[in-house]
């Protein structure tokens, strides 16, 4: 496919304004603009996971090669979803269009496109719902805000449901909790029935299904990647660590997003996990079969998400572990918190997680048997089990980005902050309306982080980047910490674009830098190979 040009930051900012078109939104057709959408799925990938209407298709072509009876498929699917989800039904019915959610979406803030206001994104589908599922809509039609489902309407739905990262910020502000993320999930299910998935989602899904992880790393490739990190750790610390894979009888299974194994700066975070576990002498194993914490299935359909997620419990059972620790990832943790146990539980073959180091029982996850690594580490630090030298991170001035999902789909907020404050000396929060439950999305979640989608991603990334810029100017922040593998990839791009000079890190990279390991040599560099503060001359 042709390369798509992304406007320069100044050009983009210059043209940004919050105005409305002359024509009503129903009369304003969606223009599918290069740089703001992802390539269509390949039939081959959809076929691997037995999705219906699998075929190659291209969103920028006129003909989407829809099946003959596409409307029928859509409506049957919609009825099915309305019957299965009270959330969907209630959210279709009770919006009062108060507009409280309107300017809360990062895509609206960064694009100024009124259809990116959560309320209007939802109305795109609600108008179709009214037309075919409500009495008022059937009788009054357009006066009641109804419109028939045409090919153009379908295209518009597709375009805008793949411009929502399911971040739930809108839901926070809605007086009825209407969650446009939930509506987007339904909308994407419907587009999936018609084979209208994107390449960037369906590729990883097919990979994960067959090979265990989004990147499609085969067993030996996973081991190679981790071996490479082990070598780097030895170079830096003089300590050779020896991770195990698919080991039966280990106490703990460790699952993290495969992104951590693949590219900087995620790999530094993965090195951090391993150094910590080694220092503790933790009895844990990696799995090459359940080698993905994230879940791109979640961005296509509920069933697909469940199919991918099933591997985690299945592998825990096969290996006979007592419980599971999960790495740093955002949407992974919404899935693990709000879906996994319901789909694939009960996990009664495991035990309530207990830290072997501190003896702390993790009561809050006594059913899922899976704890977040920042919970595990915060507990270690609180109990003085780690020897830390925060001054090794003194070259960094850090701020922390809450991932949408750990903030609004879980509520994990103080654990990572507690860790950061113990392993670093310079930490500053971004403005209050941009953190914790009000956090802004990185702009590229839910499988939108394709390079052909760069303009949209940078637009969606503006609010987050702008808050980083604020603390950069005020406090000299040069490092953006987070607990999400997607963030580590996408925020790096949006920082380079909007706030050059700010780098991105996982929390456990910071931990490992500060961690004084038993028998380590005098460290000269941090995990990135940069000289430690005070060692610059060496």
């Amino acid at each position: 496919m042709a390369k798509v040009n992304t406007p320069k930051p100044a050009e983009l900012a210059e043209a940004l304004e919050y105005t409305t078109p002359q024509t009503e939104w129903m009369e304003t057709p969606a223009v599918i603009k290069p740089g703001t959408f992802c390539w269509g799925a390949k039939g081959k990938n959809l076929g691997i996971v037995e999705f219906p209407n699998a075929r190659d298709w291209n969103p920028s072509e006129e003909d989407w090669k829809l099946p003959e009876n596409w409307q029928e498929i859509f409506f049957t699917g919609m009825k099915n979803l309305l019957d299965k989800y009270r959330s969907f039904k209630v959210f279709m019915d009770i919006c009062v269009r108060c507009g409280a959610c309107a300017d809360k979406c990062h895509f609206f803030i960064g694009s100024g496109d009124p259809k990116n206001m959560p309320v209007l994104r939802a109305e795109l589908l609600r108008s179709v719902y009214r037309n075919d599922f409500t009495l008022a809509g059937k009788i009054l039609g357009k006066i009641a805000g109804a419109r028939p489902l045409t090919v153009d309407v379908l295209k518009e739905l597709w375009y805008y449901f793949y411009q929502c990262t399911e971040c739930r910020r809108c839901s926070l502000f809605c007086p009825y909790g209407i969650d446009t993320a939930e509506i987007t999930m339904m909308g994407r299910e419907l587009t999936n029935l018609l084979g209208l998935n994107t390449d960037w989602i369906s590729g990883p899904v097919a990979n994960c299904y067959m090979k265990g992880n989004h990147l499609g790393l085969e067993p030996h490739a996973i081991m190679n990647s981790i071996e490479g990190m082990v070598d780097d750790i030895e170079t830096i610390t003089g300590i050779r660590i020896n991770p195990s894979f698919n080991r039966k009888g280990a106490e703990i299974l460790f699952v993290t997003p495969s992104g951590d194994l693949f590219a900087d700066p995620g790999t530094y975070t993965a090195m951090g996990y391993m150094m910590l576990f080694h220092e503790l002498g933790l009895d844990y194993t990696w799995s090459t079969y359940a080698s993905e914490g994230g879940n791109f299935g979640f961005f296509s359909s509920n069933e697909m998400a469940k199919r991918l997620n099933s591997k985690i419990y299945a592998e825990a059972k096969r290996l006979g572990v007592k419980y599971i620790i999960g790495g740093e990832c955002g949407h992974m943790w919404r899935v693990l918190t709000q879906y996994m146990d319901t789909w694939n539980g009960p996990a009664d073959f495991m035990e309530v997680p207990v830290s072997p180091i501190t003896g702390t029982r993790f009561e809050n996850s006594k059913s899922t048997k899976m704890i977040h690594i920042t919970e595990f580490t915060a507990d270690l630090i609180k109990n003085n089990k780690l020897k830390l030298d925060p001054s090794r991170n003194d070259d960094l001035v850090i701020t922390y980005h809450d991932s949408c999902n750990t903030a609004r789909g879980m509520g994990l907020m103080d654990e990572p902050r507690y860790i950061i404050n113990n392993v670093c000396n310079n930490f500053h929060e971004m403005p209050e309306n941009t953190i914790r439950e009000q956090t802004f999305c990185c702009g590229s979640g839910t499988g939108l982080n394709a390079s052909e989608n760069m303009e949209l991603r940078m637009r969606g990334g503006l609010p987050r980047a702008n808050a980083v810029k604020f603390v950069k100017e005020k406090h000299g922040v040069n490092m953006l910490a987070n607990i999400c593998a997607i963030d580590r990839a996408t925020l790096s791009a949006s920082m380079d674009y909007w706030v050059p000079g700010v780098k991105v890190t996982g929390v456990h990279e910071l931990v490992a830098n500060a961690l004084i390991m038993t028998g380590e040599k005098e460290r000269e560099t941090n995990l990135r190979g940069d000289a430690l503060p005070g060692k610059e001359g060496n």
């Binding site: 989800y85 209630v90 609004r408 103080d414």
Partner: protein, 330 residues
Amino acid sequence: MKIVLPLVAVIMLVVLAFAGVQVAGMQFLFGVLIPYLAIAFFIAGFIYRVIKWGMSPVPFCIPTTAGQMKSFPWIKQNKLDNPSSTMGVVGRMALEVLVFRSLFRNTKTELREGPQLSYGSEKFLWIAGLAFHWSFLIIFIRHFRFFMLETPFVIQMIEGLDSFLQIGAPLLYLTDVVLLGAVTFLVFRRLAMPLIKYISLPADYFPLFLILGIATSGILMRYFMKVHIVGVKEMVLGLVSFNPVVPEGIGVIFYIHLFLVSTLLAYFPLSKLMHMGGVFMSPTRNMANNSREVRHVNPWNYPVHVHTYDEYEDEFREKMKKAGLPVEKE
């Protein structure tokens, strides 16, 4: 169009009631039949809608968490915005329903040169929303004086408080002023803010105009165009006790008021006004965030096709052996 149509509709309703009563003398239709039908439709419709929502299950535990979750004893949980217990949920819902907690959070995004974004607190919608809903409720309760022979003490008390300014005769009720003000503001807001205007439908203006009509006719009746109050009470008591009577000489403004109220009742279950019931059923607000602690059961959970470990090993066995990984089958 979006605005004119609902406005015309409400005017038509007024004209209809006026003509029906004043010209055609259909007091019984407008004073008895229509109110009865409207109330029946309201009750049946409301229940139908709620049951219809209830028929769809809540397959997953999906609260929108708005604060720190339950964690270690040494980390403070935000028990109201991220509740993990039923009591917490009751608290969260109470805050939501009684004082509009989420609207209270509202901010306004501002874009300046640079670009520089800022998010200031924006409380107007919250204040107007609270003022509107609470004054509406109080006015509704005040009307119970018409439904009972003896005005109960509570209602006398509310009336007393509501008119504590002691202005005019009959005494001016504060809530009348507040309601009119709040509804006017809400209409004005829809018209004045381009983005809000853009998302508004006729179905957003219609109830506002209708309520304006109801409030105005009520105020006219009380303060300006005196109606035969004893007759009104007799008539309402008759309706309530299912012994409808149509006393003479009540005044057409009363019938207009009653007809608009009837319209509102009948319209209610067909419209977004159902948010009154829906707010209680919203899974992002009415669930405890405890799904890691207590398994949430999905009634339609079904087995799915998965790629098993055995299939995986079959595909990669040789590679796994070569890499030194343990395998189940040699």
